[in-house]
């Protein structure tokens, strides 16, 4: 298959992830959608790596996975901390930083 199929698919997944981040209110689900976006990026990277015959793209995708894992760890830690302090798990309710 031509690479452009993978790229279009990657764009589509990215768009779906982005709309999910914007539409959902639970921080947990927002993190999940964030994962979607990251994976879409990974897909594009691997596709290009295949197309250029260059393995650096795959290494890059690996590092992206590492970063995603770290981010998930910290994000979930935040959610647990919020839950512990009886804060509502709703991003719209946490709005003290406003002008």
């Amino acid at each position: 298959m031509a690479i452009e199929w993978y790229l279009v698919l990657s764009a589509l997944l990215f768009a779906v992830g982005a709309s999910g981040v914007l539409l959902r209110r639970s921080p947990l689900v927002i993190l999940l959608c964030l994962e979607l976006m990251l994976n879409a990026g990974n897909l594009a990277l691997v596709a290009f790596s295949r197309s250029l015959g260059n393995q650096e793209g795959q290494v890059f995708a690996l590092v992206v996975m590492v970063v995603a894992a770290c981010e998930v760890v910290v994000g979930l830690g935040l959610i647990v901390a919020m839950f512990r302090r009886r804060l509502p798990l709703d991003v719209d309710e946490i709005r003290e930083l406003r002008g």
Partner: protein
């Protein structure tokens, strides 16, 4: 054959993604994401990225998603309110996402890069194998590798700090990160004023 695999993977990925966004129960969203990840792993296999596909399943699907499962079980799911606090968000968000998708598609499909429209070169054996990835990691990208390790370490420490229980509230604990005045967990004296996660109690606490 390759097309079939591609479309199978694609439909799985897309379906999983849409399910993550659309399902109301967060637990189900997590499961949908797992499906999505496995489909992506399949796509990676088609693209001669075996190691990445394996890492995807083991690390992502295995470790990260399990973490998600634990936390969503701990936190529990709640129904999100129907009404939209931000005017225009429900309309604009899909619109802008669609716009972004269309732009990128136009960019990809209308590009002058001819290689995108082709299958790609014949790849050497061992392309995407763990050996060759490992060589690259340890030779050319050693600094990146070490930096990523550092990042993991820091994230782990951060997680422990974030989610750790407070031994004492008061002066010692005042320097701790982001305590809005409530003592944590089992050290509470008075009963909890309301079940956690409801907007009402949270609003009071925030407003204080």
């Amino acid at each position: 054959m390759e097309q079939v695999a591609f479309f199978a993977g694609a439909i799985g990925a897309l379906g999983g993604a849409l399910a993550v966004v659309a399902l109301r129960n967060p637990f189900y969203s997590v499961l949908a994401l797992i499906v999505h990840l496995i489909s992506l792993a399949g796509l990676f296999l088609i693209l001669y990225a075996e190691f990445i596909a394996a890492a995807q399943i083991v690390v992502y699907g295995g470790a990260v998603m399990v973490l998600y499962l634990f936390v969503s079980a701990y936190v529990g799911g709640s129904e999100e309110p129907i009404w939209e606090a931000i005017p225009g968000q429900r309309l604009l968000a899909p619109l802008l996402a669609a716009a972004l998708f269309i732009e990128v598609s136009i960019a990809v499909l209308g590009t002058g890069l001819k290689a995108i429209g082709e299958r790609g070169p014949t790849l050497p054996a061992g392309f995407g194998s763990p050996g060759s990835i490992g060589e690259l990691l340890l030779e050319r990208f050693l600094v990146v590798f070490e930096a990523a390790s550092m990042l993991l370490l820091i994230a782990a420490v951060g997680a422990i700090v974030l989610a750790g229980r407070r031994r004492e509230a008061g002066p010692g604990g005042a320097g701790g990160p982001g305590q809005p005045g409530e003592r944590s967990g089992a050290r509470r004296d008075q009963p909890s004023p309301a079940p956690p996660g409801t907007p009402g109690s949270g609003a009071e606490e925030v407003a204080r």
